[in-house]
């Protein structure tokens, strides 16, 4: 079974600075999807960024980018120019590309604090 590990329970960053959240995963599959989700105190799960394993190019969404290292099974999230609104729990998630396994497997999360 696939597992997702987030080794940083908590991180903090100064406003306008850059922070990187770590995620590693374990799988024997070659094709899959990886996601980063943000969960603010409102508890709404918000998709931040998505990466297809077959794409070598790292995904980017405005201030959010990933460093996807397939061989190392690593999928870190970089947040540039951090803003107060970025403060939230961040979850890394894995999904198999196998059509019969569409569920998401989540890591334990990283709580990000943004200091003014």
């Amino acid at each position: 079974a696939q597992t997702v590990t987030q080794s940083q329970p908590e991180m903090s960053v100064q406003e306008a600075e850059t922070v990187t959240l770590s995620c590693t995963y374990d799988t024997s599959e070659s094709d899959y999807y990886l996601f980063w989700y943000k969960q603010p105190p409102s508890r709404q799960m918000i998709l931040v960024i998505r990466q297809e394993a077959y794409k070598q190019q790292n995904a980017t969404e405005n201030r959010f980018s990933v460093n996807f290292q397939k061989a190392a099974k690593s999928f870190s999230l970089k947040i540039s120019d951090s803003q107060l609104g970025d403060a939230a729990m961040y979850f890394c998630a894995y999904r198999s590309a196998d059509g019969g396994s569409e569920k998401l497997v989540f890591g334990k999360g990283t709580k990000l604090t943004v200091n003014p």
């Binding site: 409102s42 508890r43 998709l47 998505r50 979850f91 999904r95 569409e102 998401l104 989540f106």
Partner: protein, 113 residues
């Protein structure tokens, strides 16, 4: 991506009672997923609901405790039955369209007293 309306947003229930949570999607989707998020924890999948068939439950979750309905392609309910304080959690429904990314309902915060 799809928009999901989930209700109730929160509830406080007596132990031994049941609560039904509803999720309405603004478009037809094949699968819907129900997650539990215990306080301070990550999301754990309870079951996958496919329209027209029995829900598929993950290890540790049983249909008698968490019955699920999926009457059509836009709607699903999860019932938390015979509740105990250990059932106090956030419950979220989710779906995926076109492999883009999963959309979640806004969650139901359940407190059992």
């Amino acid at each position: 991506s799809a928009v999901i309306s989930q209700k109730p947003s929160r509830d406080i229930c007596q132990r031994g009672t049941s609560l039904t949570i509803q999720c309405q999607v603004d478009s037809q989707v094949t699968m819907m997923f129900w997650y539990r998020q215990q306080p301070g924890q990550s999301l754990t999948l309870i079951a996958t609901a496919n329209q027209g068939s029995e829900a598929t439950y993950e290890s540790g979750f049983v249909i008698d405790k968490f019955p699920i309905s999926r009457p059509n392609l836009t709607f699903s309910t999860l019932t938390v039955s015979n509740m105990s304080p250990e059932d106090s959690s956030i419950y979220l429904c989710s779906t995926d369209r076109a492999n883009y990314g999963y959309t979640f309902g806004s969650g139901t915060r359940l407190t059992v007293v």
